[in-house]
């Protein structure tokens, strides 16, 4: 498999590239393409330097590394879209540029530029596109206007599901590998925790039910959006009130919340701590890329352009069967009515935002 990483000079793109190389995901004769996301970049030599540095560091098993700024030269079988603007990490400015609307306006043209170029050159051989850039739902939507939807995935729900598994595992004192769980819906404040999908290796059904009830601490799915909105407002106020120590205090505050709220809220103090969520996102991305490269059939949770599956329309996160490309959406017969209703409402909300962002 050849892999193209768009925005390879950004924080997340560079981390993905480094892990792909250091992890030996690609063979010596496979191509790793570093694609500049900004033709007007003030650092036009950066990717050439990165290539040389990677070759020095991982010479024992280095793939062929190509550098280009030309979207028409993208040749990967897998294309990772990591280019685009992101929120500043200064918590003092967290109330400024910082809505997803702003981000959508900033990144829409970029999504369109790369989606059109990939489609122009790869109509008969579409690559699998993994969108990391935000708003991820808009990215998925734009790429799906140019490519078959089976070939377009958004990383948001994949990362969120990994976080969900970790939050459950850490509270129970077990390793993440023992926990299966999916966090669906819209990346950010529109996510939908699918508690019905939680499985913990070694627990019998009655033990599992009792454990989940303890983790949820009396909360129900239908209340999740309101609880999340309220906690988010309090968290942001806390961080903006104290730009120096606010993120640390916010992390402590988040740690006292139930696992599903922690998943949605923890990335905010992590981001504004200036560490950003690069490692988690890159690790999840490389895990997904590895599954694609190995050709395994896997169940994942990722943003996908729904066309009526489970009554959902729009590019929201959901469970998918992946076999090279998306084969199907996992049937929702194991979901509760509340979860299904939240997903459907999320799809409606998401479509409405996308219409506004993209003027469709």
């Amino acid at each position: 498999m050849d892999i193209s990483v768009i925005g390879a000079s950004g924080g997340c793109g560079r981390e993905v590239v480094t892990r792909l190389v250091s992890g030996g995901v690609l063979g010596r004769r496979e191509l790793l393409q570093l694609v500049g996301g900004n033709p007007q970049s003030s650092r036009p030599s950066y990717l050439h330097g990165l290539r040389a540095d990677l070759q020095d560091a991982y010479a024992e098993n280095i793939p062929e590394i190509d550098v280009t700024d030309d979207a028409d030269e993208i040749v990967g079988d897998i294309v990772v879209m990591a280019a685009g603007a992101t929120f500043p990490t200064d918590s003092a400015k967290a109330g400024g540029l910082q809505s997803r609307d702003d981000l959508a306006r900033a990144n829409h043209a970029l999504f369109e530029h790369f989606a059109a170029a990939v489609a122009r050159n790869r109509k008969g051989n579409p690559p699998v596109v993994i969108v990391l850039s935000n708003p991820v739902e808009l990215g998925v939507h734009v790429f799906c206007r140019h490519l078959p939807r089976e070939y377009v995935l958004g990383m948001g729900a994949f990362s969120d599901s990994q976080r969900f598994r970790w939050e459950i595992a850490s509270q129970l004192g077990v390793v993440r590998q023992r926990v299966h769980a999916s966090m669906a819906g819209e990346h950010g404040l529109g996510m939908v925790p699918l508690w019905s999908t939680v499985r913990i290796h070694g627990l019998q059904p009655d033990e599992l039910a009792a454990t989940i009830a303890r983790l949820r601490d009396g909360t129900v799915s239908a209340d999740f959006p309101a609880r999340l909105a309220a906690e988010h407002a309090a968290l942001m106020a806390q961080m903006m009130a104290d730009p120096i120590d606010g993120p640390v205090r916010a992390l402590a505050r988040v740690a006292r919340l139930p696992p599903d709220l922690r998943v949605a809220l923890k990335p905010f103090p992590v981001h504004y701590s200036q560490a950003k969520t690069i490692s988690a996102t890159a690790t999840a991305t490389v895990e997904l890329v590895t599954a694609l490269c190995e050709g395994r059939a896997v169940e994942i949770c990722a943003q996908y352009q729904h066309r009526g599956e489970l009554g959902i329309h729009g590019p929201i996160g959901n469970r998918l069967i992946l076999e090279g490309a998306v084969r199907r959406v996992v049937p929702g017969d194991d979901l509760s009515d509340e979860e299904l209703a939240l997903l459907q409402a999320c799809g409606v909300r998401c479509r409405s935002k996308i219409r506004e962002w993209s003027h469709d």
């Binding site: 050849d2 004769r29 496979e30 191509l31 393409q33 062929e64 190509d66 280009t68 030269e73 040749v75 050159n121 790869r122 109509k123 008969g124 051989n125």
Partner: protein, 162 residues
């Protein structure tokens, strides 16, 4: 009788490349094909006709659909060992000679010249189109060596021009 044309339902494709003259270059090119399940029917390169900057010309013959052939060409262009790669049409005027060693009991068609090498072996030469038609026809010869295509004329403005 051996089928000398591509053993494939897909059309024959020809890519002309300029390849760096260094160890591993051919291997990296071959991996682009083998990694996609494409068989190279013929690979003709020359190190005796290097450009001033050390690049050799090579021709690669394979069978694939138009989309895959286009993608392979684009991937080749991105390799560090390849300076240019161009997908040529079968009727590209720069392809002016095909040569192969063959065993044939029949008479070659018009456009193919044959020079006997032994009792049953001959050197056959002709235009690529005529050679391809002969190989695909009922009187196709038995191939005794890889099909070889020579790029004998450079377009003045093409990527392969010296």
């Amino acid at each position: 009788m051996t089928d000398l044309t591509c053993a494939s339902a897909f059309p024959q494709q020809i890519i002309a490349i300029e390849l760096q003259d260094r160890p591993g270059s051919v291997n990296s090119v071959a991996e682009v094909f083998s990694g996609r399940g494409l068989q190279i029917e013929a690979f003709h390169g020359t190190a005796g006709d290097l450009n001033a900057d050390g690049h050799a010309h090579a021709l690669i013959v394979f069978c694939a659909g138009a989309d895959r052939a286009s993608l392979v060409t684009r991937v080749l262009r991105r390799l560090s060992s390849v300076r240019s790669a161009e997908l040529l049409g079968a009727d590209d005027p720069r392809l002016i000679e095909s040569v192969l060693i063959a065993r044939s009991n029949g008479r070659p068609p018009a456009g193919i010249s044959v020079c006997a090498l032994g009792a049953q072996t001959a050197l056959a030469a002709g235009s690529p189109a005529a050679m391809h038609a002969w190989l695909a026809g009922d009187d196709a010869p038995q191939r005794l060596g890889a099909l070889r295509l020579d790029l004998l004329r450079d377009a003045p403005d093409g990527p392969l021009a010296n």
